[in-house]
Every structure is written in structure tokens, then in C-alpha cells.
């Protein structure tokens, strides 16, 4: 038996509903229909009254979840696409993210964002907006890259007393599979060494972990040993694990599917430059999507985002410098 990344997300929500009566799910089409991606398939039937359809009102969806959290419940919000969460942005960054700091009342909401590019999805169904949420104090921003992490981190997110932006990559939904769900996992806030190496560190997260692993495999045939760090959470950012890896390799390449300006890769380079400058044998580099909206056509899309091939090319350049 194997389980996909998407099924892991569904199973984590089923488990959360099963083990905690305070949990409910609210979002567009999540009820009997089971969600646009079927991440809540059958849950409305299995947990009557706790998996509820919302009107197309992202602002009010998030606002309602904040009120429910104040009342002691643990809402899981499904945004149909991460891109649409901008309509609820104000409630996330100004209401949810500031509540604890202002009032000492915590705000345990989990906002699931199906995010990232898939072929043919275009400018409004492909965005990677984790950095915008990470910019604001008061939010935890998670970016699981594996089936196991999708499951374990979602369960941990729901149990957390703070608002969590849970970025689940749509490209991983169907084809990423695992044999079973984990009984335990690294805690939120800890990065994972996805592949060990000694020549260069690639730090990345979510779907780009898999591009980096393919690139590392390719470079291994050329005699290079690439270490791949999977951040798992972009906020908090596990700077210690990143610096320790750079200490081993002396070279840093940061890869993100998001746009470059002010993003996670920029933050990584800033931290390594200021806290681990002496560990670097070459200037740290980064690779991101191009600074345009995400294109629709597969030819354009494949060139817009980093791929195993472009990661490998950037790594080769850095290894030679």
C-alpha cells in the first residue's frame, strides 16, 4: 500500500478531527464535494457538522476562524488556492498574527495553502507566497516536501497554539508517494538533511527539494557530492542546520520556486553572510523563479521556475568559483 502527499494531508485532517473535538474544517467546497483537490474527501460524511462549506469570502473565512479560535476551537481553513489567500491577507496578518501579542490570547488556526506551480496553471493558480507571510511577525510558515512531513507537520500545526500558514505544494499532491505514514517526525522548526555531501550545500524547501535531489544525483555522476538541506519550515528558519552544513561544504546555493525579491533565499543568504561568513569558500548564490507572473504555457513555465537542470547548472558554476 502506498499513500500520496495529498492523501497524507487528508489523513492528517481525519486524524486531527478524530483526536480533538475542537478541530473543524471550513473552506470553499470542502463539504460533501471534498474540496477542489479532494483533500477533505469523505470527511464531511465521517465528521458531520465539522467540515463546512464557506461562501467565496476569504476575508470572512479567516476572520471567522480567528473568532472560533478565541472561543477555544482549532479551525483548519482550506484556501482553494494559495493565490486566493491574498483576499484574506488582512485577516491573516493583521488579525490572526497580532492577536496573541496584543491580548495574550493565542490564535490556533491552521490556514492550508495549496500553492506552487503546476503545468498550465498560469498566473493565479501557481503562486508561491510563503515569504509574504513569513515577513509578518506572529505566523509560523511551513513548507513540507515529503509525504511524511505533510502528514506529521499538519498534525503538529493543528496542535500548535499559534497561527500556521501550511504551504502544501500542488505538484507533489498526486505523484509523491510513501509506503506508510510516520509515527513520529522532526519537530517544526528543524530542517532535515535530505542528502549528505561535502562539496556544496543546496538549501531549499517544498517541491524544489526534489529538483535539488535530482540535480545532486546528476552531479554525483560528475564526482561532486552535494548536500541538500530541506528547510521544512521557512519560519522559523533553522539557521543552525544551514550554517552547520555550510561549515562542512564551504559553498551555499539557495533555491526557491518563489520570486527572488526579499524572499526566503535572500533571507538565507543574509543570515549565512552575517553569521557564517568565514565558513564560505565562495560567494553564496541563489536561484529563484523569474521576476514575472507565473506563465501559463508549459514552455514558458518550465523556463520560469528553477528545475533540476538549472539547479545543477548553478551548482556547477559555484563549484568552479
Amino acid at each position: 500500500m502506498s499513500i500520496t502527499y495529498l492523501e497524507a494531508i487528508r489523513e492528517a485532517q481525519a486524524q486531527a478531527l478524530r483526536q480533538d473535538p475542537r478541530v473543524f474544517i471550513y473552506g470553499q467546497d470542502v463539504g460533501d464535494f471534498g474540496g477542489a483537490f479532494k483533500a477533505t474527501k469523505n470527511l464531511a460524511r465521517e465528521y458531520p457538522g465539522r467540515v463546512l462549506n464557506a461562501p467565496i469570502s476569504e476575508d470572512a473565512i479567516v476572520g471567522l476562524s480567528v473568532g472560533a479560535a478565541i472561543e477555544g476551537l482549532r479551525p483548519i481553513i482550506e484556501m482553494q488556492f494559495a493565490d486566493f489567500s491574498t483576499v484574506g491577507f488582512n485577516q491573516i496578518v493583521n488579525q490572526a498574527a497580532t492577536l496573541y501579542w496584543r491580548t495574550n490570547v493565542s490564535c490556533p488556526i491552521t490556514v492550508r495553502l495549496p500553492f506552487g506551480g503546476t503545468s498550465g496553471s498560469g498566473p493565479f493558480h501557481s503562486q508561491c507566497i510563503e515569504a509574504i507571510y513569513a515577513h509578518y511577525p506572529g505566523l509560523v510558515v511551513l513548507t513540507p516536501a515529503t509525504v511524511e512531513d505533510a502528514y506529521a507537520m499538519l498534525l503538529e500545526a493543528v496542535a500548535l497554539d499559534d497561527p500556521v500558514i501550511f504551504c502544501e505544494h500542488k505538484l507533489l499532491y498526486y505523484h509523491l508517494k510513501a509506503e506508510s505514514l510516520p509515527a513520529e517526525a522532526l519537530p517544526i522548526g528543524k530542517a532535515r538533511i535530505a542528502r549528505e555531501g561535502r562539496d556544496l550545500t543546496v538549501v531549499t524547501y517544498s517541491a524544489m527539494v526534489h529538483e535539488a535531489l535530482v540535480a545532486a544525483e546528476e552531479l554525483a555522476t560528475e564526482g561532486w557530492q552535494i548536500e541538500v538541506v530541506d528547510l521544512r519550515s521557512v519560519k522559523p528558519l533553522d539557521t543552525d542546520t544551514v550554517i552547520a552544513s555550510v561549515a562542512r561544504t564551504g559553498r551555499l546555493l539557495c533555491v526557491g520556486e518563489a520570486w527572488p525579491w526579499g524572499g526566503v533565499t535572500a533571507e538565507l543568504i543574509a543570515r549565512v553572510a552575517s553569521e557564517g561568513y568565514g565558513l564560505l569558500d565562495a560567494p553564496p548564490q541563489r536561484l529563484n523563479a523569474k521576476d514575472t507572473p507565473v506563465p501559463y504555457h508549459p514552455n514558458l513555465w518550465a523556463a520560469h521556475r528553477p528545475t533540476a537542470r538549472s539547479v545543477a547548472a548553478a551548482a556547477r558554476n559555484l563549484l568552479r568559483s
Binding site: S57, D59, L64, G72, L73, Q95, T98, V105, I188
Partner: protein
Amino acid sequence: MMQTVSVPGAMGYAGASGELLLAAYRCMVRARLLDDKFAALYRAGMIQGGVFLGRGQEALSGAIGVSLQKTDVFAPLIRDAAGRLAFGEPMVDAVRTYMGSAQGPIRGRDGNVHRGRPQEGLLPMISHLGAMLSVVNGILFARRMKGITGCVGVASLGEGATSTGAFHEALNQAAVEKLPLVVVVANNQYAYSTPNSNQFACANLADKGVGYGVSAHTVDGTDFAACLNVVGGAVAAARAGKGPQLVVANLLRLCGHGEHDPGDYIEAKHKNSPLGRDCVKVAEEVLLKKQLADAAQIAVWRSAALREIEEVVAQVQREAGPDPFVEDWQALSTPHLAEGQEPKS
């Protein structure tokens, strides 16, 4: 056909008792005098940031406060000193927040009217006021899930907030979910300096409720007794399971947007119209006419309120503000996940 209802009897509400009128009036007076004190402290340079008064809106605000029960939910706007006092907010919370006391509910992290006690049903506003409606919806929604019935949530707005997307999303959401939400709009003719002619084009703001299937009511916001009847009726209707209610009160802000604002854009035609009546004076006339109080009694209440205010301010003036060296500088309640700490070196 617009479904505006202004007759309380139509909602099965008996109307405000003399006792309720007196309770509301006393909160109005305390609020007016407290606001006057804040204005004086602001002019003396003793309050950082803005000061926002409820002058001219006390009757509506007080009507909200006395119509609610302790177990209800109230998301006030910036001019709701009367409603907050009537709902049970201790006066010291207001003074501590304005004066930045570390002992206040917000501990100097936010100021002036941005205060509350969320777990006691009093929500601390964010400046994007329309966003508070759906938070009230969330509390009511959660209570229903928990099997708690019979409670009501009131969200206070100005007419300006009815132009925001958040207002429309939340009003529709409340209607879809049939939540016991009462939205009270103080239509004070100006959103900061913007007159209604630049704010909306419908004949009556109550029409916005009708469009969502929400029962809508209009009231003269300067008329003390009418405010109590209409707000009380709307709260009773929501409590009785009749779904969300919208109350639009027409009145005039008798001051600037804040104390930094002379409000010289407020047109004389409004000031000289019935909208420009001082609702506190109107309330006094009602009490005298109904023989619920005489002039001597009113004077006693006023001096009691002044004494209370002076005592609270004197107490808070002795309290320290927040100490940046003691502040934990953490926005998360989970300490080990908080970022932004000084780098370990």
C-alpha cells in the same frame, strides 16, 4: 420593498424599561465625561497617539451596551466608550490603554481605543474595522458548534466601514449561517472627512442589509429612547433566532475624527439640523419628562462620574509604562518557535 422595521413591537420586544433608560443614561454621562478627560489629557501632552471621542454617539453606544448580557459578544468601534462601560468594561481598562500603563489589558502594545478582553466577549479592534464582523461571526459560529445558544454578538461600525469588502463578506456569511449577529452602523455623516455623498449612493444604508437577506432597521441616533428600543429590539430578535440584524443610526459626530482634527469640514446644515442634537441632553430631557430623575439627581450622577474618573486617572498616572528591557519581544505564544531574538554570539 425595503424591510426596515423601526417599531420594536414588531419584533416582539417590549421596549426599554425605565430602569434600562437610567442605566444607559448613566453610562452615557460617564462616557462623555471620560472622553472630556481624555481630550484634556491629550491637550496636556499626557497621551501618546490619538484620542477618539464618542461625542454625539453616546445614546446609540449606550443602547448597545445595556442591550447586551455579560455572556454576549461586543466588537466596539472607536466611539463606543458608553457601550463599553455599559457592557461591563472597567473604566480603568480605558484609562490604562490611553495612558500606556503596563497593567492595562493591552500593556502598551497597542493604544487608545484598541483594547479589549477577547475571552470575556469584548473584542479588541484592529484599525480595519470591517474586519471585526467576521471575528464576531466566528465566536457565534463556534458557540453554536459547542451547543451554546441564546447569545448575541454586536459589531459596531461607522458608515465608512460599510464600503469595505470585509463588511459585505461578513454580513453575507452571517446571513448564510443564520448567526445571531447584530451590526450597528453609526451613520455620523463623515468617515474622517469624507461626506456620505462620496461614500455610498444608496438611499438608505439599511438597504445593504436587505440585499443579503438581513433584517434591517433605521433609527434616529440622537433619540435616546428610540435607540434603546430599536437596538434592544434587534438584539432580542437575534437572540430569538431570527438571524442577523442590521441597525443604521443616523446621527452626527459632534467633534473631529480625533482630537487632532478640528472637524471644520462638518457642514453647518448638519450641525443645525436635528442630527446635530446632543444626545446626552436629549436623554436628560427624556428622563425629566418621564420623571425617572430630577435635575438634582442628574447633578449627583455627574459629580459621581467626575469623581470616579479623577480617581481612576490618578491611580493610572502612578503606574509604569512597559519596560523595553523586560518585554519578551515575541509575537508567538510558542516560545521556542519565535524568531527575532538577538543572535547567539
